[in-house]
Chain length 342, copies 2
DNA sequence: CGCCAAAATGGTAGCGTTCCCAAATGAAGC
DNA sequence: GCTTCATTTGGGAACGCTACCATTTTGGCG
């Protein structure tokens, strides 16, 4: 596997530049630049001449040069734990929908749920000098925090609400969400309540949902009947395996809180397959409200995380910049969505 | 909403540069550049001095300048129809996993399934001078094709196999996949076979799956008993609505091909809810094999699209570049996954 | 101790834009 | 026709970095 760079470089040197277009159109270099970036500042006659030269030569302005000269990258970085999850995809998508019409380009990086990777990614990302950074969560290495604060770039921490934002913070309280799940199951008269999680050591938000869940139970004098912390990766299949483990344990359980909807959907499937009636034998509640959660049978009770709204608000916060002395902390709230599984 | 650019510019001018680090470390500017980019070419002594100066000043190299000077952007663009879909997320994720270790950064853009948007996006993307472009599908506006061919950048068309690749083409035959679905249902003894699709006018791959499906039926003297082309957006809920429509039609149907798994999973749910036994009353087959498809009850028969492999191969093709006179067309194949729903 | 090759270091000239200002052109008024 | 002012146009200097080449230092060896 040879280095594509050499060919690249050879090709690129000598590609069409502003100067080529200027020569073709018989105008100055600045006239071309203006004809492209602020057409109103150029006379009709020259503008059309420039435009046809651009088309004739297939000129595409080099953003690197433009960015370097103007110190405006028109780039916004989004740092998420995972690129393949629909949860983060929806956030990115919503942010993109806001930013693209404003001429911004999104650049996505993933941390694989690791704080150290996040630090590496942040350092790399700052080299691109984005005009805004949207980052997942409020847990960062001290060095990451420091770096972001020093950067002078608007930083939006999304997904979870914390007490000490770097800059702007948009999210919900995951502890409260966990507590809401517990209270819902209790209100249904369940007392032998289990917990299912996976990759809990990596996902701080999931940890806090669990903590909030356990505390709420404790307030009612209940302790979790069983906790399955599955070693597999978060996903539908892992949820199913975890449920099988739970059923195999023989423990008497009448309700389960799955720390996210992937696990919960898989758990519902496994419960049904193993002859349990949901919710009669076993109530199940998840977290995040995936699209699929509403369509499975029985449909899944869950807690809706307003992902699209968070993505949109994060993008708008970046656009507003940090000078805008608006709200530094935005609680987008969550919503208990009661369906058939509880 | 004021323009964040001004603050940006003010901040950035006068940020830490190579020269500052050089002064701090008491060395030449080139020594700093080398200490960072090819540490082996610098003596131990100076390297440590540079390194501590970098840390002391919090220097982060400016990629714009580096890219401009070296004509190496270390950027690979991935153009997908949608950012929020898990199918595309997995492809992007797999490509990222290959490219990141090689020092590349991925830039994702979405076309919203529109050829015109794709053209706009391509033009914009070329301005960033990526070293490779991974684009979804083989259908492009003539201008888009032209632009990509002229660019001199390796282009990988992924997801579907065509006869005339711009450069490199990785995918499967969607017509064959559709035919496989039809043949599977026929082999199960079904003859009153329906089709469910959504947004069919935008998704050319789905169109070809349908065409292949219809042709295969025709070869066996069967015509689709019913076609539901739902107007909603592709998603689980739309699949459910389409199935309800199908059931309400009163048409005698014993099998359904859903043009993708989102629709199929939703359709399974709706069929069950409406008292149909799947597969006894109604067999259902989807396309793509989502993670969730294996975990619902009944689990979904589908055709697996090897997304991770495509993402990986596309990234490797970009790394290899176009000089590598290897395979221009790679058929990654699909696989019929028979589960409970058929 | 000197000599030469090899390694380490630094200066300079771009890379392709945009910004700033000067020059040129055109319009309007007398 | 000439001056004055607004509008267009263009030139040159950055922007921060790397490539290339020249220079300096080092180390090995006779």
């Amino acid at each position: 596997m040879t280095d594509p760079g050499d060919a690249m470089r050879a090709k690129r040197r000598g590609s069409v530049t502003l100067k080529d277009v200027a020569r073709e159109a018989g105008v100055g270099i600045m006239t071309v630049s203006r004809a492209i970036n602020s057409p109103d500042a150029v006379s009709e006659k020259l503008r059309t001449r420039v435009e046809s030269a651009v088309v004739a030569l297939g000129y595409v302005p080099n953003r690197w040069a433009g960015t370097l000269a103007s110190a405006r990258s028109r780039l916004v970085t989004v740092i998420v734990p995972s690129l393949s999850s629909r949860v983060f995809g929806e956030i990115v998508s919503a942010a993109d929908a806001v930013l693209t019409p404003h001429g911004y380009q999104i650049m996505v990086s993933n941390t694989a749920f690791s704080l150290d990777d996040e630090e590496t990614v942040c350092r790399k990302v700052l080299g691109w000098r984005p005009e805004g950074i949207i980052i997942s969560g409020i847990d960062h290495n001290p060095a990451t925090r420091e770096m972001l604060m020093q950067s002078g770039i608007p930083v939006v921490e999304a997904l979870e609400l914390g007490s000490d934002p770097i800059d702007i913070n948009i999210g919900i309280s995951h502890a409260d969400a966990g507590a809401t799940a517990a209270e819902h199951l209790l209100s249904r008269g369940r007392r032998r309540i289990a917990f299912i999680g996976a990759e809990m050591d990596l996902d701080f938000r999931a940890q806090r949902r669990r903590a909030g869940f356990c505390e709420a139970l404790a307030r009612h004098g209940v302790t979790p009947a069983l906790e399955i912390h599955h070693s597999g990766r978060v996903g539908f299949a892992t949820g199913a395996r975890a449920m099988e483990e739970l059923l195999a344990s023989g423990e008497a359980v009448d309700a389960v809180f799955c720390v996210n909807d992937e696990l919960a959907v898989g758990a519902v499937g496994a419960a049904i397959r193993n002859g349990r009636a949901v919710p009669d034998d076993l109530a199940i509640i998840g977290f995040s409200d995936l699209d699929v959660s509403a369509e499975i049978v029985p449909s899944l009770t869950t807690i809706r995380l307003p992902r699209v709204e968070m993505g949109r608000l994060a993008a708008e916060a970046v656009l507003a910049g940090r000078r805008e002395t608006g709200e530094k902390r935005i609680d987008v709230g969550y919503e208990l969505v009661v369906r058939e599984s509880s």
